[in-house]
């Protein structure tokens, strides 16, 4: 074993390099911007969560007693808008992605640090406008804004909310652009495409969808505003429009948006599964390319939201067969994650519990997606609680669990402190149980015919709603625990080592928390992704190494090593 020089752990890191509000609001450090996003998406998550609790409380009884019908309609609309546009879409890419993309490829920052900060400001402005619309009176169209209800009949703040979503889109586009350019041009020497952690592949695929899909929702919202404000006939047949056109435009973005939400989660899970079983990902390239396949196919299946909309029988057939096709890359990922565990060294740390929970819930979400792709069954269950349960299994069981798992996993790097492991495991368990109790009964209620977006419902469905509400209370409690102990740990947690999990990824080869420039020297990557070694053999970045990982191909200049 040769000796190598460890860079002296400096007391200065990105958190304490500068102080004061201004140093945060004007920062160009991707890690600080990630923290700005972390704070803001958490804020929006709790607003969305309060709406969720109101929905569940109202539905405890068949009558409309806690909320009036109008208030209920606004509540589920705002729950959807806040959760989708202001939590799920930015959650993993803008917090974990922002923090990790440069660190994982060995770069100092993203390609465009100022644009990165701009995208956070755009997000905040959009958020303020949307919150203002909610306070001013709210919106009651459903997050889907279906015309002509939204353009002609709704008497609520449709355009203002739409403006918030319109503006927010630019934040997505700029973040996506930044990631793509960064991954293409700023990889450290030796960091080839196929040495990249799988989180980066999925972030890359997500970024592609963001820049290609988001303009379409912007255009759709703009047309909606034209019709609502100027009565230009686009969607409302009374003035010469076509209401199904709205659904095509809306879902052309909003279906790929589902993959904006879930692909980064899949990337996090690939990291967690590999790293907490200390195994190279089984079928790395299949997992990597399945992300791109999902991004491409994801653009071709929007019509499966419209099987009962009046679209043609043949269009429905094509969308159905493509929807089955898009399920395959997701299945491939699940199989590869499972195979990765084979002969691994599996730890039961909190992030791994979240990852295992993800696989279970995502599998159920994906399997029930097959029911919805089967047209004849979809005709019966679409717009019922079956669909509600299905997409919550993907969005909450999938994305939220991946986000929490990732947050715990990288928390030592982000905060420089360990979270309390016991509380972490406990809350992961509570979240898992609460989630299933909330949403499993909804599959049954949905097949029995309970329509979604109902403020009142026939009494025979009450039993399922009581179960759901009980589950939601447990879920809500489970989610409060990490909020408390993560904040607590920032001050009182155990000091984290640079590499507390003993992992090979570049982000673990620098201090916790990292210095502002991430690495003291530009790292030279000589190892494959997930190439595990005993801790004493793992080089710390910036050292001259002649160890067992030396390769001849490491001096290729940046950008030419693909």
């Amino acid at each position: 074993m040769e000796s190598f020089e460890v860079p002296q752990p400096s007391k200065v890191n990105y958190l304490n390099a500068q102080y004061g509000l201004k140093s945060w609001l004007l920062t160009r450090d991707h890690k600080r911007i990630a923290l700005l996003y972390l704070g803001s998406v958490t804020f929006f998550f709790f607003i969305g969560g309060i709406y969720a609790m109101l929905i569940r409380l109202e539905l405890l009884t068949p009558q409309s007693d806690l909320l009036s019908a109008t208030t209920y309609n606004k509540t589920f609309t705002q729950h959807g808008i806040i959760m989708i546009f202001f939590f799920l879409i930015p959650s993993i890419p803008a917090t974990l992605g922002n923090f990790l993309v440069p660190m994982m490829i060995g770069a100092k920052d993203l390609a465009f640090p100022r644009i990165n900060l701009l995208s956070w400001y755009i997000y905040i402005i959009a958020g303020i406008i949307t919150i203002y619309a909610l306070i001013a009176g709210g919106v009651d169209t459903g997050w889907t804004f279906y015309a002509p209800y939204s353009t002609t009949f709704s008497n609520s703040y449709v355009v203002l909310t739409g403006l918030g979503i319109f503006i927010n889109g630019f934040s997505s586009i700029l973040t996506g652009l930044n990631f793509i350019v960064t991954i293409h041009t700023m990889r450290a020497p030796g960091m080839t495409w196929f040495r990249m952690p799988l989180f980066l592949w999925s972030t890359y695929a997500t970024a592609l969808i963001m820049i290609l899909g988001t303009p379409v929702i912007a255009i759709t919202v703009l047309l909606l505003a034209f019709e609502r404000l100027a009565r230009i006939g686009i969607f409302d047949p009374a003035i010469g429009g076509d209401p199904v056109l709205f659904q095509h435009l809306f879902w052309f973005y909003s279906h790929p948006a589902v993959y904006i939400m879930i692909l980064p989660g899949m990337g996090v899970i690939s990291e967690l599964i590999a790293n907490f079983s200390r195994k190279n990902i089984f079928g790395y390239s299949f997992v990597a390319f399945s992300s791109l396949a999902i991004a491409v196919f994801g653009f071709l299946v929007w019509g499966h939201h419209m099987f009962v909309s009046g679209q043609s029988v043949f269009a429905s057939m094509i969308f159905s067969v493509l929807s089955f096709a898009v399920a395959i890359p997701s299945a491939v990922k699940v199989f590869n994650w499972t195979a990765t565990l084979y002969k691994g060294s599996i730890s039961y740390d909190t992030p791994m519990l979240y990852a295992l929970g993800f696989i279970g819930l995502f599998t159920i979400g994906g399997m029930t997606g097959l029911f919805l792709a089967t047209i004849a069954v979809d005709v019966h269950v679409t717009d019922t609680y079956f669909v509600v349960a299905h997409f919550h299994y993907i969005m909450v069981g999938g994305t939220l669990l991946a986000y929490l798992g990732g947050l715990h996993y990288w928390w030592p790097k982000i905060s420089g402190r360990m979270y309390p492991e016991g509380w972490g495991r406990f809350s992961a368990l509570v979240v898992f149980v609460g989630f299933n109790l909330t949403f499993l009964p909804q599959f049954v209620a949905g097949y029995l015919g309970m329509p979604r977006r109902y403020a009142t419902y026939p009494p025979e469905f009450q039993v399922f709603n009581v179960l759901s509400t009980a589950g939601a209370s447990i879920l809500g409690f489970g989610l409060l625990i990490p909020l408390i102990y993560l904040i607590w740990s920032m001050r009182y947690g155990k000091i984290a080592e640079p590499n507390p999990w003993h992992l090979p990824g570049l982000e673990w080869r620098t201090a916790s928390p990292p210095p502002t420039e991430n690495f003291l020297l530009t790292p030279i990557v000589t190892w494959e992704a997930y190439e595990f070694a005993p801790p004493e053999e793992m080089e710390v970045v910036g050292t001259v190494h002649r160890g067992r990982h030396a390769r001849s191909d490491v001096d290729a200049p940046i950008g030419e090593n693909t």
């Binding site: 009962v308 096709a325 299945a331 599996i346 279970g360 097959l370 004849a376 019966h380 049954v444 029995l448």
Partner: protein, 349 residues
């Protein structure tokens, strides 16, 4: 509440319900089997390969193209079996059979208005007989609604400005839920009602007992006169300055731009509201629009009238007066006119 808590599927009260349930239980079986397989393997690995010492490094395992191919192809084939079965049932669902009776449905915030071809109107209720194929012709007066009968496993959006259809054949007398399934504003969850399925003779009694309302085709004939359609299309639709309408429904129409289109409900609707859109070959663009002068109900009545008038010569219709005779004996063979329409036809009175 009773033991209905433990049901996994709603009442099956139409010919489609059993087919969709069979497909649903096939999907449930396959997905449950594979989910449990994945969970079983996962749990087995997680326990068997748990970390035993803090610094152990397991040996890397190389990927396998054979396995990857296997678990790409097998799920794909299973998925295709779902697709083919699902598409087959869907085709059956989407294509109305020829021998249906028609019922008109108009959705508006927040109620369902239905009208039978004999004239009976209902609100938030729909009476239908067992064992007869019923086709709903639906439209909306405002936002999008969706006509959903869980016990029949059917649902179709009801759109403003166009017609959508769904058909069913009820199999079991009883009262079932009718829901609006597309969010349509404040009282969306109160836009519900019931579908009452009756025995055929009971239904005929119900149908005849509720007299006093004009059959849509009769009301349509009155509209045809009061709106002045007669002056160009003739009192019985025999044509004049405007094209002939008798026996037109369901036929191919040659337009003056050389195109040929089928005279269906959508064409009819467009020709009333936007007559310049498609001009029949040999006629001038002289018809005024009736946009704003005619309600959705009236449009459906006019259409019922036009469907009911047949070519006056060469042979008069000899339709049987009561039962749902599947074939039309008149010369306009392309017209799947159902018997209640013909029974109410003013041309035969």
């Amino acid at each position: 509440m009773d033991s209905s808590w433990f049901k996994l599927a709603p009442e099956a009260a139409s010919t489609m319900a059993g087919k969709i349930d069979a497909l649903y239980f096939y999907l449930s079986g396959v997905t449950l089997f594979f989910s449990l397989l994945i969970f079983g393997v996962l749990i087995f690995f997680v326990i068997k390969y748990r970390r035993r010492s803090p610094y152990e490094i397991p040996r890397p395992v190389a990927g396998s193209h054979r396995l990857e191919t296997l678990w790409t192809v097998i799920p794909f084939l299973i998925a295709m079996s779902m697709f083919v079965w699902g598409a087959q049932v869907y085709f059956e669902q989407a294509r109305s059979p020829r021998d249906t009776s028609e019922i008109y449905v108009v959705g508006k915030q927040w109620m369902w208005k239905t009208q039978h071809t004999t004239g009976q109107r209902e609100i938030n209720e729909l009476h239908v007989p067992v064992g007869r194929k019923i086709r709903l012709i639906m439209t909306s007066e405002d936002a999008i609604h969706s006509f959903y009968i869980p016990a029949f496993r059917i649902k179709a959006d009801v759109l403003p400005g166009r017609y959508t259809y769904e058909w069913f054949e009820a199999t079991k007398p009883g009262t079932y839920h009718l829901f609006c399934a597309e969010y349509c504003g404040m009282n969306h969850s109160r836009m519900i009602g019931s579908v009452v399925v009756m025995g055929p003779s009971e239904f005929d009694n119900w149908l005849s007992g509720n007299a006093g309302q004009l059959a849509p085709a009769v009301a349509g004939q009155q509209l045809f006169q009061s709106l002045g359609c007669v002056s160009c299309h003739g009192a019985n639709g025999e044509g004049g300055r405007g094209p002939e309408l008798a026996g037109l429904f369901g036929k191919q129409v040659l337009l003056n731009n050389g195109q040929t289109i089928r005279a269906d409900e959508a064409y009819f609707r467009e020709s009333v509201l936007n007559p310049q859109a498609k001009i029949v070959s040999g006629y001038g663009p002289i018809m005024p629009t009736f946009q704003g002068q005619i309600s959705e109900d009236q449009l459906l009545q006019l259409m019922a009238f036009i469907k009911s008038i047949h070519i006056v010569n060469p042979q008069p219709s000899t339709a049987s007066p009561s039962s749902a005779a599947p074939t039309s004996s008149n010369t306009s063979t392309a017209t799947p006119v159902a018997s209640p329409v013909r029974r109410a036809s003013p041309a035969q009175r």
